[in-house]
Amino acid sequence: MSAANLKRAEEEIFYKKNQPLLYLVNREEENGREKIIQTRSGFFYVMVIIVFFLSMAILLNIGLKIQAINYERKIINVNELISVEKERSDRLALKVSELTSPARIVTSAKEELGMQISDKIKVMEISGSGLGVQEKVLDYIANKPASSSGLKGYDSFLGTINSLKDIVMVVSEGVLTFFIP
């Protein structure tokens, strides 16, 4: 190998060392030399970074999707539980409606307990006090000891019934109904 060729080879090695890893060359036919026609010095590193982040994004996306599926499944399970409880509550409400129907209560009261709806019922407005109707009744009841008035309180489908010795008052919706035996 001549000194000139050696020098040329060294030059080429030096030249290539100073070039980036990616470059486009054109080989000259006559002397076989490669001529660099295009190079992007930072392209490779940019590509590496892009690929890295792209891979990370894809991995993250897959991870999030898996998490979303898990959450979705949990939501479906919770919704199913809610609908089952709602269904149970609806069934109970239906049962309550059936049990509180006037037909059942009146029939039971008449046939099983021998009760009758009284014909002697009067509805009256009470005057002469500054209190509201319900307050007046409660006030009246409060001033009469249970032992002396024979007061009994119980609920019925008509409202709250307060039974005294000779008079029965129904307190409901702010107006009094007196049952006078």
Binding site: K65, I66, A68, I69, E72, R73, S83, V84, E87, D90, R91, A93, L94, S97, E98, T100, S101, P102, A103, V106, I117, D119, K120, I121, K122, V123, M124, E125, I126, S127, G128, S129, G130, L131, K136, D139, Y140, F157, L158, S172, E173, G174, V175, L176, T177
Partner: protein, 578 residues
Amino acid sequence: MVREANNRINRKRVYFLFILFVAAFALITYRLISIQYIYASKYKSEADFQHKEEYVVNSKRGKILDRNQVELATSLIEKTVYANPKLVLSPDKEAEALAEILALNPDEIKEKLNNKDLGFAYIKRQISSETADLISQLNLPGIYIQNENKRYYPQGDLAASIIGFTGLDNNGLSGIELQYEKILRGVDGKYIIEKDVYGKMIPGSNNNYIAPVDGGEVILTIDSQIQYTMQEKLEEVAKAYKANTAIAVVMNPKTGEIYAMGSYPGFDLNTYQDFDEALYKDLGTSFTYEPGSTFKIVNISSSIDTGSIKPDQVFNLPPSILVGDKVIKEIHRNYNIKYTTGEIIKYSSNIGAVTSALAMGKQLFYEYIKKYGFGEKTGIDIPGEEPGLIYNYKNWSGSTIGALAIGQSIAATPLQIVRAACVIANGGYLVTPYIVKEIRLTNDKIEQPVMQESTSIIGKETAAAVKDMMLSCVQDGTGTAAQIEGVNVCGKTGTAQKVNKTGIGYTEGRVITSFVGFAPYEDPKIAIIVVVDEPQGPEDLIWGSTVAAPVFKDIMNFSLQRLRIDSGKEVDTGVVAK
């Protein structure tokens, strides 16, 4: 030379390859465009058909409640097992597994699952959630669980003809269920899933869920306790007198709110298929009959309002009168008598009513009958209302005015008659009856039905005068059986002969007895009509005053108590505030 020749060949090869690539590229481009653009919708639908499955998520039908939120109709979600036999892989094994859980005959299930022509077959409807869960856990290919609504009516036969019922597909078929179908039904949702080759859902794929919108709640003006008492009393009277039917309507004379409406015999909404279809009708709005003497309140109020007669006018009344070609008689009187206008109502005088109508004349009488809304639907918000029938006065025969004066030659519904009584009760206003108080939509929005304004059809003085007459009718006239202790009740009796089935003439012994009235006199809050069709018994005991008035009294008495309506008189109990 050789090199040049080689270059030429190489160039040709390159050109050939280039053209080949261009052609292939063009072909691929064309194919891509045709798939992605030209035939895109076709391929998309084919792909969707293969990979997507659409499930209907049923909306829950809304409740029907009474004015105090008592449930009259409600829906429960029930589970239904169904199969797509085309997707069932091993029909025999799956049938055995299903039969064990559902306690069904395995052969019947096998038959369904082996029928590959079917895309859908019910296995069992309305099963419990627990059973449905057991089936879901088996993951049987082609076997699915679906939610279905089932309608329940917890009050049974209460207000059955008003509420109506739904069919198997959950569509309203009658009553409020039909009238408010759109609101009650809601909007069904969808669940669109992507599935794999085995028909199973691909998790995480583009599953699309459109949530169902549940139906709204319809709150009625009905009070279930008044309704119950009314139905009970109607049953009692119908059984006691072996009547065809007993009908009643309870309403607010000022607002038109219906508190109760029904008839006996009725039917149970939960087992409606077991009853005669004729019972499904709401007779309060569809039973047309000749109202008889209850119509005299329309006649007398019209005469007074037109100035044809005066409230305190005295009439010398013979026992019979010839109108056109027909003789109209008094029932209990064969001598002349002097009655005031008030006594015509009080004692229900036929001759007095005819005299009043004749004083008014055909045209005015007809115009007032129309003003009262006869011959037209009242506009109540339930389906199946009948308009009744009244002929134009131009087509009346010579005797028609006489017949109309006593409530014949006209077909009216009980609701129309009680509405006429409401005009007297509220000072002359024709109200539009309504049965839906409010509608609650799922978004918590509350809608009030559009109310039609009441129109004044007679003067206040006229209404007050007729109200006094109706009061005296109950106090010491024909309607004394409707008296309630401590309450001033106004009313009018009616006993109308029934028209022959041929439509010509009347049959002795076939009558429709009725009573219409309102209370308390001082400030009417409740108006009621009771109609009893063909009560049986001795002729001299079958009257509106003996059959219908006591029922009216019982219903009115309970309604006044229930709605806490006082008698209008203040009582000092001596309770003093501290």
